[in-house]
Symmetry: C2
Amino acid sequence: MKQAVIVGAGLVGSLWAVFLARRGYQVKVFERRADMRSAGYVGGRSINLAMSARGWAAIDKAGIREKLEKVALPMPGRMMHAVDGALTYQPYGKEGEAIYSVSRGGLNLELLQIADSFPNVEFFFEHRCVEVSLDKPEITFENMAGGEVFTVEAPLIFGADGAFSAVRYALQRTDRFNYRQHYLAHGYKELNILPNADGTHKLDPNALHIWPRGNFMFIALPNADGSFTCTLFLPFEGEVAFEHLKSDADIQAFFAKWFPDIPPLMPHYLEDFKNNPTSSLMTLQCNPWQWQNRILLIGDSAHAIVPFYGQGMNAGFEDCTILDGMYEEFDGDWSKIIPAFDKKRKPDGDAIAELALRNFIEMRDLVGDPKFLLRKKIMAHVHAKHPEFLPVYSMVSFSNTPYHIALREDDAQNRLFEKILALPDIESRWDSPEVEAICLEHARRSL
Amino acid sequence: MKQAVIVGAGLVGSLWAVFLARRGYQVKVFERRADMRSAGYVGGRSINLAMSARGWAAIDKAGIREKLEKVALPMPGRMMHAVDGALTYQPYGKEGEAIYSVSRGGLNLELLQIADSFPNVEFFFEHRCVEVSLDKPEITFENMAGGEVFTVEAPLIFGADGAFSAVRYALQRTDRFNYRQHYLAHGYKELNILPNADGTHKLDPNALHIWPRGNFMFIALPNADGSFTCTLFLPFEGEVAFEHLKSDADIQAFFAKWFPDIPPLMPHYLEDFKNNPTSSLMTLQCNPWQWQNRILLIGDSAHAIVPFYGQGMNAGFEDCTILDGMYEEFDGDWSKIIPAFDKKRKPDGDAIAELALRNFIEMRDLVGDPKFLLRKKIMAHVHAKHPEFLPVYSMVSFSNTPYHIALREDDAQNRLFEKILALPDIESRWDSPEVEAICLEHARRSL
């Protein structure tokens, strides 16, 4: 009998259960938290997700697109809000391309229901993984409701249990396990913009909204119910920082100075600010992702990243696509699939971690920089005429090109635009044939 | 009453106990292993230590130099052994400067005895740290002999429990703890050259011996008893690697090809090779090193490094010197000492980690490179005439200059010698006034 254990019923664990079920596996999924279908989703510290091509590709391959399309709102571009209220709009890609705003809770709920509809998938909620045997094909859980501890036979274990993965902790004890966790100096706080009385959105729902302020920023992503899930990203310590936002007066003065247009959209923001936790942001890298061809880390447990490229979930879903592709390629032989996946995918995990860190700087800072806006304009202009000249954002969000190639291309395009933006009078001839030719020459050599 | 708990009775823990005892503290030292004074030292995986200026400075400050001088053998230079048996000698510093070969077991034994001679120091061997409370000034141990678990009041805790520190594991669970462990692709194996029948050394005892072979190397450090402690550093996997050294024939062919002069010195090398474990080599970095001004990591638990600069123990001992200096500066106020130490010392921990990795490349590879030997010759020549032109090796090994300054100087000297070695006919005019002037100009600007 083909059987597998998945630890974690989050986004990646639930989706991977669908893939394995379709391959005829008996799948047992263990989750520390309660079943959100009955217990409800615990919000307050969540950032909305931006589903892009890699996420959709996995969902297509799993055959569940139509069930998920209804919870996803297209965001074809970003809307930047200056302190004086001025708006600047930038499309993310070409006509027809968009990233999709999805609430984490809503998506997880849908995926759970889909996975649970397979007769060969069994969920165990409120089950904490207490030990992963390195010697034997076994894994031990504690039923947190009853307290009993029991061991399951598990020839194949997938650790989809997130950044603080219990499965990874077991691997971390083995010799020569490389590991790095690194926190940003910034934290984040969730806030919300509720719908208008008639259920409509208070801001344009067809955009990701950003209030870039140099070293910090505020963002808002639309939900299908007319609300926006918002996030404030701010350093923990420093001149302008969470540490100074304690009293009502502190918080009010902060918004009045930096985000004067936001309080009218969020009459309840003071309460939310004080009630919602301030969470931290981590990059996690490790190597290897597997143990003896029978335990494999996928998603955040292998490669947690900061959220600024909107790729955390997309990368985890792409893990599923690639694994399932290798399942075909190696005819279901896990002793080949698991090492091949580890080898192929690790450089991509490292690359998207770096790209996500770079995009934080872009979002919070560069989007207010005229030189950077000019670069974006040139790229969009040339890309529209010549699709082969592909901006890195498009490569990451609208293609399935391996992330490590996108990172290499990001380095190359940074060098390219250092040259282009140094051209005399570039402001007046950004759309000249000469600039276009330089970009096309770059594209030709990148192939 | 002034009281402190030290976790770990290794080199740094024992030395730090002496410092605290001299400051009038009641010190309890807990060690997982058995007392080596009765149980004997468990060898087989140890690399001899090279005590240099920072180690001696700490030992001087603790007032115990004369007790330790007898176990240390001066090594004023390194002797390189080519495959054909040709020897090249390089002094490490100026006339009168040397690093000192010390066996880890011997040094640890001496330090234990010295610390134990203080009435206010108490040792608890075979005691495993099972929990460090983050909320209360408490720490919990298991007596491994009897099995009982007990909690000790501990307003001040020093984690000197090495690379796999239990104290650090407690800190690792806290939010925003940065952590990185990275293994080399190389492992190492201890071997030994025994004394001649008359007790004399089989090689020159006044040198650190290196057999550099590009990607791998063999080293030998003298002991006072006429023996040498040797270490083979070799990749785990690859063309020439531990993975291929399984049978007697494999091992013999390997030594015959790469180290033909070694087997005659070590008639028992085959047995030792098979009996001694192959150990791995890790760099460990974390941040912060402390918790709430009352728990502090020192030595390897905060900054484990690879052994190639001979600075692991020296760095740990220097932690003690600096901490004790801050004890005076802040008049014994740990709420000031601990954060100040963490802030000041962390960049030095990172710098020596990087320098140690660089020195591996130097030892195994560059010491056989004519260009590199020329660089060393020029540096020694100018340094002898103008002591203010200080080679980085001297800065690290024969001074107490903070490591982060030495790292910066290493970068600067690398750029300097790129320029110098590119001069036409440098081979014939390496000792010319022109080259000397370039070096002095560099030294003047480095000040």
